[in-house]
């Protein structure tokens, strides 16, 4: 049986990630793999020794000292991690999802995303990690790296789960947007929802034709869908339309542009993720 992989940490998003995972698992008939990554705190806990002297057996002594420190921290972190996973397991069970496996991993969050096995079809993560400051508009720096690294589509959970009835599909005619449309059709995830296909363009734009074709594909697949075309800045328009239609989920192609371009002008995807309060399903 195929599965989805949900990443939880001790941030406020853990519960929401579980709820979203439960919903997707129900919709797509997937089992759930819950992963918690124990990221090493870097150097903050090391005692300050500025003596700068190295004596007999300095290497072994230093290695032992550092390893001992890490070992203590790792033990605590592991215990916390297990508790976190157990809590998540209970939450999923309460929602009727019982086919769940849990995994505790050491290392880097993005590395863990990279190692998600091929039989996993969706990755679910929270919008922010435990380190991030909630008040600022700054997104977890891990998020973009995670989405770029993932081989699977990524479902970015919002702060709290709401039952999903209305879906907004952002369409820009690019390959990842086409894939997003194909995905939602193939996955039957939209079967019982109202979908709005949104294209950011003026009337009579060449994009309009492509968008209409995409709409037809959605409708042919049995999805109740309407098309909205509106000019403007992508992130603003998406936010507006999401609010107007009361959408519970945004589906979009992710990071269609190169890293270099992103470096210079910033990424639409990141901007949209920052602006939207609803969960986002990202397809690359």
């Amino acid at each position: 049986m195929d599965k989805l992989t949900a990443f939880i940490d001790s941030s406020n998003y853990a519960e929401s990630v579980c709820d979203h995972a439960a919903w997707i698992a129900g919709q797509l008939g997937l089992s759930v793999e819950l992963v918690h990554v124990l990221e090493r705190q870097k150097g903050h806990h090391a005692p300050v020794d500025l003596s700068g002297s190295i004596g007999l057996g300095a290497r072994t002594a230093l290695l032992e000292e550092l390893a001992e420190l890490d070992a203590q921290n790792a033990k605590v972190a592991q215990k916390r991690g297990r508790l976190l996973l157990e809590g998540a397991l209970e939450r999923l069970a309460a929602e009727g999802v019982t086919d769940v496996k849990t995994r505790l991993r050491n290392g880097d969050f993005v590395e863990a995303i990279e190692d998600v096995s091929a039989d996993s079809r969706v990755i679910v993560i929270g919008k922010r990690g435990e380190g991030a400051d909630f008040a600022s508009g700054h997104l977890g720096s891990n998020l973009e790296r995670a989405v770029r690294t993932a081989k699977q589509p990524v479902f970015v959970a919002a702060r709290a789960f709401k039952p999903i009835h209305k879906v907004l599909v952002a369409y820009d005619g690019g390959p990842s947007a086409e894939k997003a449309v194909d995905r939602v059709i193939a996955s039957h995830i939209l079967q019982e929802t109202d979908a709005t296909l949104l294209t950011v363009c003026k009337e009579g734009d060449p994009m309009a034709g492509k968008a209409e074709a995409a709409l037809k594909r959605l409708q042919d697949a049995g999805v109740t869908a309407t098309l909205v075309m509106r000019p403007g800045h992508a992130e603003k328009v998406i936010e507006e339309v999401a609010a107007e239609t009361g959408a519970d989920l945004l589906v979009m192609g992710a990071y269609g542009h190169s890293r270099i371009r992103t470096l210079v002008i910033g990424s639409t995807t990141t901007a949209v993720l920052r602006a939207c309060k609803i969960p986002v399903f990202l397809v690359r």
Binding site: G43, S51, I54, L62, R145
Partner: protein, 500 residues
């Protein structure tokens, strides 16, 4: 191996993830860099300026392009001792040219991903390397300790006492720095009769400037510098990768070896153009960095910058530092670099590893060339390994009831080192109608063993027996298909023609 692509977020983290501790540890490390840069400039036969500029330039450049954040690279013992004859024979400009060429060679090594070759450097060879390095560093201090006034010994002992005893009182200040300051002040007050840094040659009084090595661009020049550049490149990469491994272990993180190789090359390349000599990573100073809390690229950068500012701005004061203070710091680095547990382990470890370790040390001390020592160590490890594996081999046989057929069962590893045992295991004087050689539980590795198998088949045929080989497993089958002659029809004729 790290195959992940470059990530800006990660690179930023490597620079600014640990700012406070990196800044402090960079300051501490700068104190340990100055003595080594000065000491090994003198060993190489150039002004301290050359080593100090090199240490600044290498540390700063490697902070940007290195593959192992938190590792300290600068002008080092390992590379300096290699270049002494070049400076003596041809002068400073050739040293600078050799540095540039060594950089180019290292970049090429990095692009060819030769960092992977480190897997052939066994633990014993590495231990031998660090021990030899520690001995080289110590030996380099001897000229400062022979034919000197008795006051020198007093000051060295005093500095060592401060270095080792002060940390018991406080860990808040670098004890080598305190030692240097105290000894300098005492010497200035009491006018002790000891050498100071100013006596050793020219010190930097300005920031480094771009300078093309003044050598004729001819094949002859290339031939002069190439052997030195190659040795420097190899030794530099060996010490750098070994230090990277050490830091990996200490901090439980991974480094990018090929990037480190190329980074060392870039650093040396540019260093040659500002009048610095080649360097590499430093085991002792990198350990001091980790111990002081340094983990990121910033620590290396700060170490290099502080070093330069100190020597340029405090020029008049640096000049006054008595050599005994620097000798004491280098003795500390030497003691910290040496793997003292390896002496205890001589008793418990297999004799072959001890032989490898001691051979590396002996060869390096004799040649002053760590590359040759490592090469000898790697070869010896290979031979010892082959010898051990060759023992994983056996042949047993049984005779059929009618006495006309014998089946040989060959088991284990069949390669050049086991060929002799293999040949000796067959009895060709026994008159048989049929011989079956069952190699299903053996692994055939190379043409030596294929040749030996062929020879055994031939010999049995000549004695009039039919030979059948069974159970060539997949691994052996491929190599036999490609190399053997026994399954070709006219093999025997060819065999006879060659006049055996």
């Amino acid at each position: 191996m790290n195959t992940r692509h470059f990530s800006l977020a990660q690179y930023r983290q490597e620079w600014f993830g640990n700012v406070r501790a990196d800044t402090l540890s960079g300051l501490v490390v700068a104190m340990a860099l100055i003595p080594e840069a000065i000491a090994f400039s003198i060993i190489a036969g150039v002004d301290p300026k050359v080593g100090l500029f090199a240490s600044f330039s290498i540390a700063v450049i490697i902070a940007f392009v290195g593959g192992r954040p938190g590792m300290i690279s600068a002008a080092t013992a390992a590379t300096a001792v290699l270049m002494t004859p070049l400076v003596a024979g041809h002068g400073l400009e050739y040293l600078l040219a050799a540095t540039v060429l060594a950089g180019v060679i290292q970049v090429v090594f990095g692009l060819l991903k030769l960092g992977q070759l480190m897997r052939f450097v066994s633990r014993s060879v590495m231990t031998g390397f660090v021990n030899a390095l520690a001995i080289l560093i110590f030996m380099a201090q001897l000229p400062e300790l022979t034919n000197v006034t008795w006051m020198t010994y007093v000051l060295v002992a005093g500095a060592l006492a401060i270095i080792y005893l002060l940390p018991r009182v406080t860990n808040a200040v670098p004890s080598p720095l305190v030692a240097i300051i105290v000894i300098t002040v005492l010497t200035m007050i009491f006018q002790f009769d000891v050498r100071n840094v100013g006596d050793m040659g020219e010190l930097p009084d300005a920031f480094p400037v771009f300078h093309l090595p003044m050598v004729p661009l001819t094949l002859e020049t290339l031939m002069i510098i190439l052997p030195y550049s190659l040795a420097v490149a190899v030794v530099g990469l060996l010490e750098s990768l070994m230090t990277a491994q050490l830091i990996d272990d200490l901090t439980d993180t991974r480094s990018n070896r090929n990037q480190e190789c190329a980074g060392q090359g870039i650093a040396n390349f540019f260093t040659g153009f500002i009048g610095g000599m080649a360097g590499c990573a430093m085991i002792g100073q990198s350990m001091i960095n980790v111990k002081s809390g340094g983990r990121g690229r910033l620590s290396t950068f700060i170490a290099g910058m502080v070093l330069l500012i100190l020597v340029v701005v405090l020029d008049q004061w640096v000049r006054q530092i008595p050599m005994p203070a620097l000798v004491a710091v280098m003795i500390m680095v030497s003691i910290g670099t040496f793997s003292w547990s390896s002496i205890k382990n001589l008793k418990d470890h297999p004799r072959s590893s001890s032989v490898v370790m001691i051979s590396v040390v002996a060869v390096v001390v004799a040649t002053h060339n760590l590359a040759i020592g490592v090469l000898v160590g790697v070869l010896l490890s290979g031979i010892f390994f082959a010898w051990k594996i060759a023992q994983l081999f056996g042949v047993r046989s049984e005779l059929s009831d009618d006495g006309t057929q014998r089946t040989y069962h060959v088991e284990g590893q069949l390669f050049f080192a086991s060929v002799e045992d293999f040949n000796a295991a067959f009895d060709f004087r026994e008159a048989l109608e049929k011989v079956v050689i069952d190699v299903s539980r053996a692994h055939i590795w190379d043409i030596s063993s294929v040749g030996a198998l062929d020879m055994v088949v031939m010999k049995f045929r000549r004695e009039g027996a039919d030979v059948e080989i069974v159970g060539l497993n997949e691994a052996s089958a491929t190599i036999v298909d490609r190399l053997a002659i026994h399954d070709k029809p006219d093999a025997l004729e060819e065999f006879m023609k060659e006049g055996h």
